[in-house]
């Protein structure tokens, strides 16, 4: 059983499970699965900055929220806009927002960088809160899910939650795979150089500002897409999409999952959402346990939860089964 073979089986298994979810899970859990997918994308984009770029951003809710509001405004004010274009608008809004903010932020490092991204995000939050004529402030805006039109398949109603699940699954997987491929290009490698030693990189000829701005904008693109999908799912957008708690939630998820591994944030998103769903039925204070777990991870488990999963063991288990 070669390593590649085991990977294929594992990957195939995961894909099969994901595709079969709507059939095997009850409807309430499908909602949860959609939520997990959306936050997985957000967390992966956050980790692009933190784990791969070495940049801790406190204001990552900014591109997410901008994408969310853009999608909502597109659905409500541009009737007849194809759904996929709306989502594209969301992603591009996140991209442009991040590009603009990044232009000012990316020159700074460490706590300064974290705080300036927070400043911009809080600024956008305050704008969303006060600009009631456009955003309806903290009351929020309701959004009707448009139909998805695919050539050859006709109009697909997204009121059917299974359809929404598949759409979200496809787009999130595309986003995450794009991120993975990005990291394997020379540009992706340049981003990792920034994390390791950006000063040395500049002496090797790397333009630190442009490289960081690029990854910041790309992360914004993915976060914006996640925001658009979020609005589609919730059928509603309010300032909760762009507030400080949203930023911090992304941080919590990513660190708990593990910043050192590409799929760490995905695990973090799964854990965070499932845990919240499970614990909330027992107690209102699930955040306390997340906080405690977070502290434990920071102190004693640097690789995050994903470092507990030893791939060796899984590989051996799989090959053992085969024999």
């Amino acid at each position: 059983m070669s390593r590649y073979g085991a990977f294929q089986i594992g990957g195939g298994g995961v894909a099969a499970v994901l595709l079969l979810f709507p059939i095997i899970l009850p409807e309430i859990k499908i909602h949860l699965a959609i939520e997990i997918l959306i936050f997985a994308l957000l967390a992966v984009s956050f980790n692009l900055l933190l784990g791969y770029g070495g940049m801790l951003a406190f204001g990552h809710a900014a591109p997410f929220g901008v994408g969310a509001y853009a999608a909502a405004l597109s659905c409500n004010h541009l009737p007849g806009m194809p759904l996929l274009v709306t989502l594209l608008i969301a992603a591009l809004s996140g991209f442009v927002g991040a590009l603009f903010i990044g232009f000012f932020c990316v020159r700074l490092k460490g706590a300064y960088f974290a705080l300036i991204t927070l400043a911009f995000q809080m600024f956008l939050f305050a704008a969303a809160l006060k600009w009631r004529s456009v955003t309806r402030g903290d009351d929020g805006m309701g959004v009707v899910r448009p139909e998805l039109y695919l050539p050859g398949l006709g109009s697909i109603s997204l009121m059917n939650i299974h359809n929404l699940y598949y759409l979200t699954l496809v787009l999130v997987v595309v986003g995450i795979v794009a991120c993975y491929l990005f990291l394997r290009t020379p540009l992706g490698n340049a981003v990792m150089c920034m994390r390791e030693n950006d000063v040395r990189a500049s002496f090797l000829g790397y333009d630190v500002f442009l490289t960081k701005l690029t990854v910041f904008s790309f992360a914004g693109l993915l976060a914006g897409l996640a925001g658009g999908l979020f609005v589609l799912f919730q059928e509603f957008v309010a300032t909760t999409a762009i507030d400080v708690n949203r930023s911090f939630a992304a941080l919590l998820m990513t660190v708990i999952g593990g910043t050192g591994h590409f799929l760490g944030p995905v695990l973090g998103a799964i854990f965070y959402t499932v845990f919240q769903d499970w614990i909330s039925s027992l107690t209102k204070h699930w955040i306390l346990f997340v906080g405690i777990l977070f502290v434990i991870v920071v102190m004693y488990l640097e690789g995050g939860l994903i470092s507990l999963l030893k791939w060796e063991r899984i590989r051996v288990w799989v090959s053992g089964q085969k024999e």
């Binding site: 801790l56 000012f104 305050a126 507030d243 306390l288 906080g291």
Partner: protein, 336 residues
């Protein structure tokens, strides 16, 4: 139904947060006819507002500004010395206020909390620094930051568990209740007390830092911790002292603030955001900067409400961003 559930679960803290953004703007002690509403849906032309109102709002702003300073001072000193942005610091403020509530309401004596709150909180802070935070110094700034961040969340949730999510008003002590005539209107004595007491603390801090041996060591450590170490002083103990002292000060600020703002779970986050703005504008590591910036932000919030309510909140974050862009070390910070 599920959506509401999700929203409320995610937004459990946010609800408080939103209320609280208005909380400071509520209870301005300003009445409607002072402001000269001219019938066009609340838009007030600035010349309609009498000068007295401005002054009262200014004093109000200075009061809140001093509170922010008391909390931000510890935060900025710790950052200057250790390079750690202690996010849990605002939680110390919140804990101070809640302890004050408990002491005042259950033990009947508000003044006792002046002593107990800071002590308990300082003790807690010292425990955290000694046994947990210290371990992360080797790992770099990121784990330190994340640890304090985790503790912030834990403390806020603990407060909600123990005291509930509703705002808990703390009665103003009898000695300081009531108003005094001021500028043709009346002004609550308690707020003047806050202002006065904070100034006393400020003077005390200035004296300690400028005149005493330990104060000089602290200032040196903020400037260059390694040098102080080389000179033979026990730097970890100095860190511990500043960390604990800053926490005590934040708790004291919480105690004083409790009758003024009442206690609510979002007060930690509110103060955290205000502190961030203040220490960035003032300069990370600079006490004078924190003072100037805190007073500025307090005044900005209070006066801004009179002029353009929509933008008061927005403006302070814009200012923070502008400062970080133009002069990252802040108004008074030292260039690296």
């Amino acid at each position: 139904m599920f959506i509401n559930f999700v929203l409320s679960a995610f937004g459990a803290m946010e609800e408080e947060n939103v209320c609280s953004i208005y909380a400071n703007q509520v209870d301005l002690g300003v009445e409607k006819d002072d402001v000269g509403v001219r019938g066009d849906r609340g838009r007030r032309f600035w010349m309609d507002i009498s000068i007295n109102i401005y002054l009262i709002q200014l004093v109000h702003g200075l009061v809140y500004g001093m509170l922010i300073f008391l909390v931000a001072s510890g935060l900025t000193l710790v950052f200057g010395m250790m390079g750690v942005l202690n996010i849990a610091h605002a939680a110390f403020y919140m804990l101070g206020a809640y302890f004050a509530y408990t002491v005042a309401v259950y033990l009947g004596n508000f003044w006792l909390s002046f002593l107990l709150s800071p002590l308990i909180v300082a003790f807690l802070a010292i425990l955290i620094e000694r046994f947990l935070l210290r371990k992360t110094y080797k790992a770099g700034h990121l784990p330190e930051l994340l640890l304090t961040f985790g503790f912030f969340y834990i403390f806020v949730e603990l407060v909600i568990i123990i005291w509930g999510s509703n705002p808990l008003p703390v009665p103003v002590p009898a000695l300081l209740a009531g108003d005094v005539p001021f500028m043709g209107k009346t002004y609550p004595i308690y707020r003047l007390f806050i202002l006065g007491f904070s100034c006393v603390i400020l003077l005390g801090m200035a004296l300690v830092l400028m005149r005493t041996q330990i104060g000089i060591i602290i200032r040196a450590a903020v400037s260059d911790a390694d040098m102080v170490d080389v000179l033979g002083h026990n730097v970890p103990v100095v860190f511990l002292g500043v960390f604990g002292g800053g926490a005590a000060l934040a708790a004291l600020a919480g105690v004083i603030a409790a009758p003024f703002l009442s206690t609510y779970p979002g007060m930690g986050m509110d103060m955290l955001l205000d502190c961030f703005v203040v220490i960035v504008i003032g300069g990370l590591g600079s006490l004078w900067g924190a003072l100037v910036a805190a007073l500025m932000i307090g005044a900005l919030q209070s006066l801004g409400i009179l002029w353009i309510p929509q933008l008061a909140l927005v403006f302070q974050f814009l200012l923070m961003a502008v400062v970080l862009i133009a002069r990252p070390t802040g108004l008074f910070g030292e260039k690296e």
